[in-house]
Symmetry: C2
Subunit: 234 residues, 2 copies
Protein backbone atom coordinates (compact mmCIF):
# COMPACT_ATOMS: atom_id res chain seq x y z
CA UNK A 1 0.00 0.00 0.00
CA UNK A 2 0.95 3.65 -0.32
CA UNK A 3 2.37 5.43 2.74
CA UNK A 4 -0.49 5.30 5.25
CA UNK A 5 -2.06 8.62 6.17
CA UNK A 6 -2.74 9.70 9.78
CA UNK A 7 -6.49 9.37 9.62
CA UNK A 8 -8.04 6.80 11.91
CA UNK A 9 -11.51 5.49 12.68
CA UNK A 10 -11.74 4.51 16.36
CA UNK A 11 -14.43 2.22 17.76
CA UNK A 12 -15.49 4.02 20.93
CA UNK A 13 -17.86 2.35 23.38
CA UNK A 14 -17.13 4.70 26.25
CA UNK A 15 -15.62 1.94 28.34
CA UNK A 16 -12.14 1.81 29.84
CA UNK A 17 -10.46 0.01 26.94
CA UNK A 18 -11.79 2.01 24.00
CA UNK A 19 -11.21 5.28 25.86
CA UNK A 20 -7.59 4.28 26.37
CA UNK A 21 -7.31 3.53 22.64
CA UNK A 22 -8.71 6.98 21.88
CA UNK A 23 -6.05 8.53 24.14
CA UNK A 24 -3.32 6.53 22.39
CA UNK A 25 -4.54 7.60 18.93
CA UNK A 26 -4.78 11.21 20.08
CA UNK A 27 -1.23 11.15 21.49
CA UNK A 28 -0.05 9.60 18.21
CA UNK A 29 -1.49 12.66 16.43
CA UNK A 30 -4.13 10.83 14.42
CA UNK A 31 -6.95 12.76 12.78
CA UNK A 32 -9.79 10.85 14.43
CA UNK A 33 -13.30 9.77 13.52
CA UNK A 34 -14.91 8.17 16.57
CA UNK A 35 -17.59 5.59 15.85
CA UNK A 36 -20.13 4.42 18.43
CA UNK A 37 -23.19 2.21 18.25
CA UNK A 38 -26.60 2.19 19.81
CA UNK A 39 -27.34 -1.49 19.46
CA UNK A 40 -30.24 -2.16 21.75
CA UNK A 41 -27.93 -2.60 24.70
CA UNK A 42 -29.60 -2.49 28.10
CA UNK A 43 -27.32 0.27 29.31
CA UNK A 44 -28.08 3.16 26.97
CA UNK A 45 -25.78 5.38 29.06
CA UNK A 46 -22.96 3.94 26.93
CA UNK A 47 -23.46 6.23 23.96
CA UNK A 48 -23.96 9.35 26.11
CA UNK A 49 -20.70 8.51 27.81
CA UNK A 50 -18.96 7.97 24.48
CA UNK A 51 -20.16 11.40 23.37
CA UNK A 52 -18.83 13.08 26.51
CA UNK A 53 -15.51 11.28 26.17
CA UNK A 54 -15.08 12.13 22.47
CA UNK A 55 -15.86 15.73 23.29
CA UNK A 56 -13.32 15.78 26.16
CA UNK A 57 -10.66 14.69 23.67
CA UNK A 58 -11.68 17.46 21.27
CA UNK A 59 -13.00 15.00 18.65
CA UNK A 60 -15.52 16.84 16.48
CA UNK A 61 -16.15 13.90 14.14
CA UNK A 62 -18.12 11.45 16.30
CA UNK A 63 -20.68 9.30 14.52
CA UNK A 64 -23.27 7.23 16.38
CA UNK A 65 -24.83 4.48 14.30
CA UNK A 66 -28.13 2.89 15.26
CA UNK A 67 -28.10 -0.83 14.74
CA UNK A 68 -30.51 -3.41 16.02
CA UNK A 69 -28.76 -6.51 17.31
CA UNK A 70 -31.96 -7.47 19.11
CA UNK A 71 -33.21 -9.22 15.96
CA UNK A 72 -30.61 -11.85 16.87
CA UNK A 73 -31.40 -12.11 20.58
CA UNK A 74 -29.28 -14.58 22.50
CA UNK A 75 -27.15 -12.32 24.70
CA UNK A 76 -27.34 -11.08 28.29
CA UNK A 77 -26.35 -7.62 27.07
CA UNK A 78 -29.46 -7.20 24.93
CA UNK A 79 -31.90 -9.75 26.37
CA UNK A 80 -33.30 -10.36 29.78
CA UNK A 81 -30.78 -13.07 30.66
CA UNK A 82 -29.23 -12.45 34.09
CA UNK A 83 -25.66 -11.12 34.04
CA UNK A 84 -23.47 -13.55 36.01
CA UNK A 85 -21.99 -12.18 39.25
CA UNK A 86 -18.97 -13.36 41.24
CA UNK A 87 -17.34 -12.38 44.46
CA UNK A 88 -13.79 -12.25 43.16
CA UNK A 89 -11.77 -12.36 40.02
CA UNK A 90 -10.50 -15.92 40.56
CA UNK A 91 -14.05 -17.17 39.98
CA UNK A 92 -13.97 -16.06 36.34
CA UNK A 93 -13.90 -18.98 33.96
CA UNK A 94 -12.31 -19.46 30.55
CA UNK A 95 -15.70 -20.20 29.06
CA UNK A 96 -17.35 -17.84 26.64
CA UNK A 97 -19.59 -15.65 28.81
CA UNK A 98 -23.34 -15.29 28.25
CA UNK A 99 -22.65 -11.59 27.70
CA UNK A 100 -21.22 -12.49 24.28
CA UNK A 101 -23.14 -10.79 21.46
CA UNK A 102 -23.13 -12.82 18.20
CA UNK A 103 -20.62 -11.44 15.70
CA UNK A 104 -20.64 -8.05 17.41
CA UNK A 105 -17.07 -7.04 16.64
CA UNK A 106 -17.46 -8.23 13.04
CA UNK A 107 -20.51 -6.01 12.62
CA UNK A 108 -18.82 -3.05 14.33
CA UNK A 109 -15.64 -3.46 12.26
CA UNK A 110 -17.69 -3.68 9.06
CA UNK A 111 -19.20 -0.29 9.78
CA UNK A 112 -15.74 1.03 10.71
CA UNK A 113 -14.47 -0.22 7.36
CA UNK A 114 -17.21 1.62 5.49
CA UNK A 115 -16.43 4.75 7.50
CA UNK A 116 -12.69 4.39 6.85
CA UNK A 117 -13.39 4.28 3.14
CA UNK A 118 -15.62 7.34 3.23
CA UNK A 119 -13.19 9.32 5.41
CA UNK A 120 -10.11 8.13 3.47
CA UNK A 121 -8.60 6.67 6.65
CA UNK A 122 -5.81 4.08 6.50
CA UNK A 123 -6.24 2.98 10.10
CA UNK A 124 -9.01 1.46 12.21
CA UNK A 125 -8.31 1.12 15.93
CA UNK A 126 -10.23 -0.85 18.50
CA UNK A 127 -9.82 -1.81 22.15
CA UNK A 128 -10.04 -5.59 22.02
CA UNK A 129 -7.98 -7.47 24.54
CA UNK A 130 -7.03 -11.13 24.35
CA UNK A 131 -5.85 -11.60 27.94
CA UNK A 132 -8.79 -10.59 30.09
CA UNK A 133 -11.41 -11.76 27.62
CA UNK A 134 -9.98 -14.98 26.31
CA UNK A 135 -13.55 -16.24 26.11
CA UNK A 136 -14.48 -13.89 23.26
CA UNK A 137 -13.39 -15.34 19.90
CA UNK A 138 -13.52 -11.94 18.22
CA UNK A 139 -10.97 -10.42 20.62
CA UNK A 140 -8.05 -12.63 19.55
CA UNK A 141 -5.04 -11.53 17.45
CA UNK A 142 -5.83 -14.08 14.72
CA UNK A 143 -9.34 -12.64 14.44
CA UNK A 144 -7.99 -9.11 14.07
CA UNK A 145 -5.50 -10.29 11.44
CA UNK A 146 -8.24 -12.07 9.50
CA UNK A 147 -10.37 -8.93 9.51
CA UNK A 148 -7.45 -6.88 8.24
CA UNK A 149 -6.94 -9.33 5.40
CA UNK A 150 -10.65 -9.17 4.53
CA UNK A 151 -10.67 -5.37 4.77
CA UNK A 152 -7.90 -5.09 2.22
CA UNK A 153 -9.94 -7.10 -0.29
CA UNK A 154 -13.30 -5.52 0.47
CA UNK A 155 -13.24 -1.90 -0.58
CA UNK A 156 -12.77 0.23 -3.64
CA UNK A 157 -10.09 2.24 -1.81
CA UNK A 158 -8.08 -0.87 -0.92
CA UNK A 159 -8.19 -2.22 -4.48
CA UNK A 160 -6.89 1.15 -5.62
CA UNK A 161 -3.81 0.80 -3.41
CA UNK A 162 -4.91 2.50 -0.21
CA UNK A 163 -5.20 -0.30 2.29
CA UNK A 164 -6.33 -0.25 5.88
CA UNK A 165 -4.52 -1.37 9.03
CA UNK A 166 -6.59 -2.82 11.86
CA UNK A 167 -4.76 -1.77 15.00
CA UNK A 168 -5.53 -3.24 18.41
CA UNK A 169 -3.01 -1.56 20.73
CA UNK A 170 -4.31 -3.23 23.91
CA UNK A 171 -4.49 -6.76 22.58
CA UNK A 172 -1.67 -8.18 24.69
CA UNK A 173 -1.89 -5.85 27.68
CA UNK A 174 -3.24 -6.69 31.11
CA UNK A 175 -6.00 -4.48 32.53
CA UNK A 176 -3.41 -3.07 34.93
CA UNK A 177 -1.09 -2.13 32.04
CA UNK A 178 -3.97 -0.59 30.09
CA UNK A 179 -4.92 1.61 33.06
CA UNK A 180 -1.31 2.58 33.61
CA UNK A 181 -0.94 3.56 29.94
CA UNK A 182 -4.18 5.55 29.99
CA UNK A 183 -3.25 7.42 33.16
CA UNK A 184 0.11 8.37 31.62
CA UNK A 185 -1.88 9.92 28.76
CA UNK A 186 -4.20 11.80 31.11
CA UNK A 187 -7.33 9.65 30.73
CA UNK A 188 -10.05 10.52 33.25
CA UNK A 189 -11.38 7.04 34.02
CA UNK A 190 -14.21 8.46 36.12
CA UNK A 191 -15.88 9.18 32.75
CA UNK A 192 -15.81 5.50 31.76
CA UNK A 193 -17.92 2.55 32.83
CA UNK A 194 -17.15 -1.07 32.08
CA UNK A 195 -20.00 -2.67 34.01
CA UNK A 196 -22.33 -5.13 32.26
CA UNK A 197 -25.13 -4.31 34.69
CA UNK A 198 -25.11 -0.67 35.86
CA UNK A 199 -28.10 0.81 37.73
CA UNK A 200 -30.31 3.62 36.41
CA UNK A 201 -27.76 6.22 37.55
CA UNK A 202 -25.06 4.38 35.56
CA UNK A 203 -23.32 3.22 38.74
CA UNK A 204 -21.36 -0.01 38.32
CA UNK A 205 -22.44 -3.22 40.08
CA UNK A 206 -18.95 -4.16 41.27
CA UNK A 207 -19.49 -7.88 40.77
CA UNK A 208 -19.82 -8.70 37.06
CA UNK A 209 -16.78 -9.98 35.13
CA UNK A 210 -15.99 -6.53 33.72
CA UNK A 211 -16.17 -4.82 37.14
CA UNK A 212 -13.98 -7.44 38.80
CA UNK A 213 -11.26 -7.16 36.15
CA UNK A 214 -11.37 -3.39 36.23
CA UNK A 215 -11.24 -3.17 40.02
CA UNK A 216 -8.29 -5.56 40.06
CA UNK A 217 -6.54 -3.43 37.41
CA UNK A 218 -6.78 -0.28 39.52
CA UNK A 219 -5.77 -2.20 42.64
CA UNK A 220 -2.63 -3.49 40.90
CA UNK A 221 -1.75 0.13 40.14
CA UNK A 222 -2.20 0.94 43.83
CA UNK A 223 -5.24 3.06 42.97
CA UNK A 224 -8.94 3.25 43.66
CA UNK A 225 -11.22 3.07 40.60
CA UNK A 226 -12.69 6.59 40.24
CA UNK A 227 -15.89 5.26 38.60
CA UNK A 228 -19.18 5.39 40.52
CA UNK A 229 -20.25 2.09 42.14
CA UNK A 230 -23.58 1.11 43.60
CA UNK A 231 -21.99 0.63 47.02
CA UNK A 232 -18.69 1.68 48.55
CA UNK A 233 -16.13 -0.98 47.82
CA UNK A 234 -13.37 -2.02 50.16
CA UNK B 1 -15.55 -28.91 11.51
CA UNK B 2 -18.29 -31.37 12.35
CA UNK B 3 -20.57 -32.61 9.54
CA UNK B 4 -22.31 -29.46 8.34
CA UNK B 5 -26.05 -29.28 8.93
CA UNK B 6 -28.56 -28.27 6.26
CA UNK B 7 -29.43 -24.93 7.74
CA UNK B 8 -28.58 -21.90 5.65
CA UNK B 9 -28.87 -18.15 5.97
CA UNK B 10 -29.49 -16.59 2.54
CA UNK B 11 -28.93 -12.92 1.74
CA UNK B 12 -32.04 -11.99 -0.22
CA UNK B 13 -32.31 -8.60 -1.90
CA UNK B 14 -35.20 -9.52 -4.14
CA UNK B 15 -33.09 -9.13 -7.27
CA UNK B 16 -32.46 -11.69 -9.98
CA UNK B 17 -29.25 -13.10 -8.49
CA UNK B 18 -30.28 -13.56 -4.86
CA UNK B 19 -33.63 -15.01 -5.91
CA UNK B 20 -31.79 -17.60 -8.01
CA UNK B 21 -29.63 -18.43 -4.98
CA UNK B 22 -32.77 -18.91 -2.91
CA UNK B 23 -34.11 -21.31 -5.55
CA UNK B 24 -30.82 -23.25 -5.53
CA UNK B 25 -30.83 -23.51 -1.73
CA UNK B 26 -34.45 -24.61 -1.76
CA UNK B 27 -33.80 -27.29 -4.37
CA UNK B 28 -30.82 -28.46 -2.29
CA UNK B 29 -33.25 -28.98 0.61
CA UNK B 30 -31.76 -26.41 2.95
CA UNK B 31 -33.71 -25.22 5.96
CA UNK B 32 -33.61 -21.51 5.09
CA UNK B 33 -33.48 -18.24 6.97
CA UNK B 34 -33.78 -15.39 4.47
CA UNK B 35 -32.14 -12.13 5.50
CA UNK B 36 -32.94 -8.79 3.87
CA UNK B 37 -31.97 -5.22 4.65
CA UNK B 38 -33.66 -1.89 4.56
CA UNK B 39 -30.59 0.29 4.23
CA UNK B 40 -31.83 3.68 3.16
CA UNK B 41 -31.82 2.61 -0.48
CA UNK B 42 -33.77 4.82 -2.82
CA UNK B 43 -35.84 1.94 -4.08
CA UNK B 44 -37.72 0.77 -1.00
CA UNK B 45 -39.67 -1.66 -3.17
CA UNK B 46 -36.70 -4.01 -2.72
CA UNK B 47 -37.73 -5.32 0.69
CA UNK B 48 -41.41 -5.69 -0.27
CA UNK B 49 -40.26 -7.73 -3.24
CA UNK B 50 -37.96 -9.82 -1.07
CA UNK B 51 -40.90 -10.56 1.24
CA UNK B 52 -43.11 -11.65 -1.66
CA UNK B 53 -40.34 -13.83 -3.07
CA UNK B 54 -39.53 -15.48 0.27
CA UNK B 55 -43.21 -16.17 0.73
CA UNK B 56 -43.52 -17.68 -2.76
CA UNK B 57 -40.76 -20.13 -1.84
CA UNK B 58 -42.56 -21.04 1.38
CA UNK B 59 -39.88 -19.50 3.59
CA UNK B 60 -41.44 -18.65 6.94
CA UNK B 61 -38.21 -17.41 8.52
CA UNK B 62 -37.55 -14.12 6.74
CA UNK B 63 -35.84 -11.40 8.79
CA UNK B 64 -35.60 -7.79 7.60
CA UNK B 65 -32.92 -5.76 9.36
CA UNK B 66 -33.00 -1.99 9.37
CA UNK B 67 -29.57 -0.52 8.89
CA UNK B 68 -28.63 3.02 8.02
CA UNK B 69 -25.87 3.18 5.45
CA UNK B 70 -26.76 6.81 4.82
CA UNK B 71 -24.45 7.88 7.67
CA UNK B 72 -21.68 7.00 5.23
CA UNK B 73 -23.12 8.72 2.16
CA UNK B 74 -21.03 8.46 -0.97
CA UNK B 75 -23.14 6.19 -3.17
CA UNK B 76 -25.65 6.67 -5.96
CA UNK B 77 -27.86 4.00 -4.37
CA UNK B 78 -28.40 5.98 -1.19
CA UNK B 79 -27.55 9.56 -2.18
CA UNK B 80 -28.80 11.87 -4.86
CA UNK B 81 -25.98 11.07 -7.27
CA UNK B 82 -27.29 10.32 -10.77
CA UNK B 83 -27.28 6.64 -11.76
CA UNK B 84 -25.21 6.31 -14.96
CA UNK B 85 -27.14 5.23 -18.05
CA UNK B 86 -25.90 3.63 -21.28
CA UNK B 87 -27.45 2.59 -24.53
CA UNK B 88 -25.92 -0.83 -24.71
CA UNK B 89 -23.96 -3.34 -22.70
CA UNK B 90 -20.68 -2.75 -24.54
CA UNK B 91 -20.50 0.70 -22.97
CA UNK B 92 -20.08 -0.77 -19.48
CA UNK B 93 -16.61 -0.15 -18.13
CA UNK B 94 -14.37 -2.14 -15.84
CA UNK B 95 -14.25 0.74 -13.41
CA UNK B 96 -15.93 0.54 -10.04
CA UNK B 97 -19.37 2.09 -10.56
CA UNK B 98 -20.69 5.02 -8.53
CA UNK B 99 -23.47 2.68 -7.39
CA UNK B 100 -20.91 0.98 -5.13
CA UNK B 101 -21.94 1.19 -1.46
CA UNK B 102 -18.92 1.26 0.91
CA UNK B 103 -18.34 -2.13 2.53
CA UNK B 104 -21.92 -3.16 1.86
CA UNK B 105 -21.35 -6.88 1.42
CA UNK B 106 -19.08 -6.92 4.48
CA UNK B 107 -21.83 -5.34 6.57
CA UNK B 108 -24.49 -7.68 5.14
CA UNK B 109 -22.31 -10.77 5.67
CA UNK B 110 -21.57 -9.70 9.24
CA UNK B 111 -25.28 -9.69 10.01
CA UNK B 112 -25.64 -13.02 8.21
CA UNK B 113 -22.85 -14.41 10.39
CA UNK B 114 -24.64 -13.29 13.56
CA UNK B 115 -27.85 -14.83 12.26
CA UNK B 116 -26.07 -18.08 11.33
CA UNK B 117 -24.79 -18.35 14.88
CA UNK B 118 -28.21 -17.73 16.41
CA UNK B 119 -29.96 -20.15 14.01
CA UNK B 120 -27.19 -22.77 14.28
CA UNK B 121 -26.63 -22.65 10.52
CA UNK B 122 -23.45 -23.98 8.94
CA UNK B 123 -24.00 -22.23 5.62
CA UNK B 124 -24.38 -18.67 4.43
CA UNK B 125 -25.30 -18.20 0.77
CA UNK B 126 -25.18 -15.02 -1.29
CA UNK B 127 -25.62 -14.06 -4.91
CA UNK B 128 -22.38 -12.26 -5.65
CA UNK B 129 -21.03 -12.62 -9.14
CA UNK B 130 -17.50 -11.90 -10.25
CA UNK B 131 -18.08 -11.81 -14.01
CA UNK B 132 -20.71 -9.17 -14.55
CA UNK B 133 -19.62 -7.01 -11.63
CA UNK B 134 -15.87 -7.15 -11.83
CA UNK B 135 -15.86 -3.56 -10.62
CA UNK B 136 -17.13 -4.49 -7.15
CA UNK B 137 -14.23 -5.65 -4.96
CA UNK B 138 -16.58 -7.43 -2.54
CA UNK B 139 -17.98 -9.70 -5.26
CA UNK B 140 -14.70 -11.53 -6.00
CA UNK B 141 -13.87 -15.13 -4.99
CA UNK B 142 -10.87 -14.00 -2.90
CA UNK B 143 -13.15 -11.67 -0.96
CA UNK B 144 -15.63 -14.47 -0.25
CA UNK B 145 -12.78 -16.77 0.85
CA UNK B 146 -11.40 -14.09 3.18
CA UNK B 147 -14.81 -13.62 4.75
CA UNK B 148 -15.15 -17.35 5.28
CA UNK B 149 -11.78 -17.43 7.01
CA UNK B 150 -12.79 -14.53 9.24
CA UNK B 151 -16.18 -16.09 9.98
CA UNK B 152 -14.56 -19.25 11.25
CA UNK B 153 -12.53 -17.24 13.76
CA UNK B 154 -15.27 -14.83 14.77
CA UNK B 155 -17.96 -16.72 16.57
CA UNK B 156 -18.50 -18.81 19.65
CA UNK B 157 -20.06 -21.54 17.50
CA UNK B 158 -17.05 -21.71 15.16
CA UNK B 159 -14.56 -21.92 18.03
CA UNK B 160 -16.61 -24.79 19.39
CA UNK B 161 -16.15 -26.73 16.15
CA UNK B 162 -19.22 -25.74 14.18
CA UNK B 163 -17.84 -23.66 11.36
CA UNK B 164 -19.61 -21.81 8.62
CA UNK B 165 -19.27 -22.09 4.84
CA UNK B 166 -19.77 -18.97 2.75
CA UNK B 167 -21.28 -20.24 -0.49
CA UNK B 168 -21.56 -18.08 -3.60
CA UNK B 169 -23.10 -20.42 -6.20
CA UNK B 170 -23.28 -17.77 -8.94
CA UNK B 171 -19.78 -16.40 -8.57
CA UNK B 172 -18.42 -17.70 -11.86
CA UNK B 173 -21.66 -17.79 -13.86
CA UNK B 174 -22.68 -15.38 -16.61
CA UNK B 175 -26.03 -13.62 -16.28
CA UNK B 176 -27.33 -15.86 -19.03
CA UNK B 177 -26.28 -19.00 -17.11
CA UNK B 178 -27.82 -17.66 -13.90
CA UNK B 179 -31.15 -17.05 -15.64
CA UNK B 180 -31.03 -20.47 -17.26
CA UNK B 181 -30.36 -22.12 -13.89
CA UNK B 182 -33.16 -20.17 -12.21
CA UNK B 183 -35.66 -21.00 -14.92
CA UNK B 184 -34.82 -24.71 -14.60
CA UNK B 185 -35.73 -24.38 -10.92
CA UNK B 186 -39.00 -22.61 -11.66
CA UNK B 187 -38.03 -19.07 -10.65
CA UNK B 188 -40.60 -16.47 -11.64
CA UNK B 189 -38.33 -13.61 -12.68
CA UNK B 190 -41.27 -11.25 -13.11
CA UNK B 191 -41.15 -10.96 -9.30
CA UNK B 192 -37.57 -9.68 -9.36
CA UNK B 193 -36.12 -6.29 -10.23
CA UNK B 194 -32.45 -5.57 -10.77
CA UNK B 195 -32.72 -1.92 -11.80
CA UNK B 196 -30.69 0.71 -9.95
CA UNK B 197 -33.23 3.38 -10.82
CA UNK B 198 -36.82 2.07 -11.00
CA UNK B 199 -39.78 4.48 -11.15
CA UNK B 200 -42.43 4.85 -8.45
CA UNK B 201 -44.29 1.82 -9.80
CA UNK B 202 -41.08 -0.24 -9.53
CA UNK B 203 -40.70 -0.45 -13.30
CA UNK B 204 -37.10 -0.85 -14.44
CA UNK B 205 -35.36 1.93 -16.40
CA UNK B 206 -33.87 -0.37 -19.02
CA UNK B 207 -30.62 1.57 -19.31
CA UNK B 208 -28.62 1.30 -16.09
CA UNK B 209 -25.77 -1.25 -15.85
CA UNK B 210 -27.97 -3.77 -14.03
CA UNK B 211 -30.81 -3.51 -16.57
CA UNK B 212 -28.46 -3.87 -19.56
CA UNK B 213 -26.82 -7.00 -18.16
CA UNK B 214 -30.15 -8.52 -17.26
CA UNK B 215 -31.73 -7.78 -20.62
CA UNK B 216 -28.72 -9.30 -22.37
CA UNK B 217 -28.98 -12.39 -20.15
CA UNK B 218 -32.58 -13.03 -21.15
CA UNK B 219 -31.80 -12.28 -24.79
CA UNK B 220 -29.01 -14.87 -24.78
CA UNK B 221 -31.55 -17.40 -23.52
CA UNK B 222 -33.81 -16.42 -26.43
CA UNK B 223 -36.30 -14.95 -23.98
CA UNK B 224 -37.94 -11.67 -23.11
CA UNK B 225 -37.37 -10.39 -19.60
CA UNK B 226 -40.76 -10.74 -17.83
CA UNK B 227 -40.02 -7.80 -15.48
CA UNK B 228 -41.90 -4.53 -15.92
CA UNK B 229 -40.02 -1.77 -17.74
CA UNK B 230 -40.83 1.91 -18.05
CA UNK B 231 -41.21 1.57 -21.80
CA UNK B 232 -41.64 -1.35 -24.13
CA UNK B 233 -38.25 -2.62 -25.14
CA UNK B 234 -37.33 -3.97 -28.53
Amino acid sequence: MKTPNRKAVILLSGGLDSTTVLAIAKSDAYDITALSFRYGQRHVHETEQAEAIASSFGISDHVVVDIDLRVFGNSALTDNIAVPKSQNVEDLTEEIPVTYVPARNTIFLSYALAMAEVRNANTIMLGVNALDYSGYPDCRPEYVDAFERLANLATKRATEGDGVDIVAPLINMTKSQIISKGLSLGVDYSMTTSCYDPDDDNRACGSCDACLLRLQGFQQNGLKDPAAYQETLG
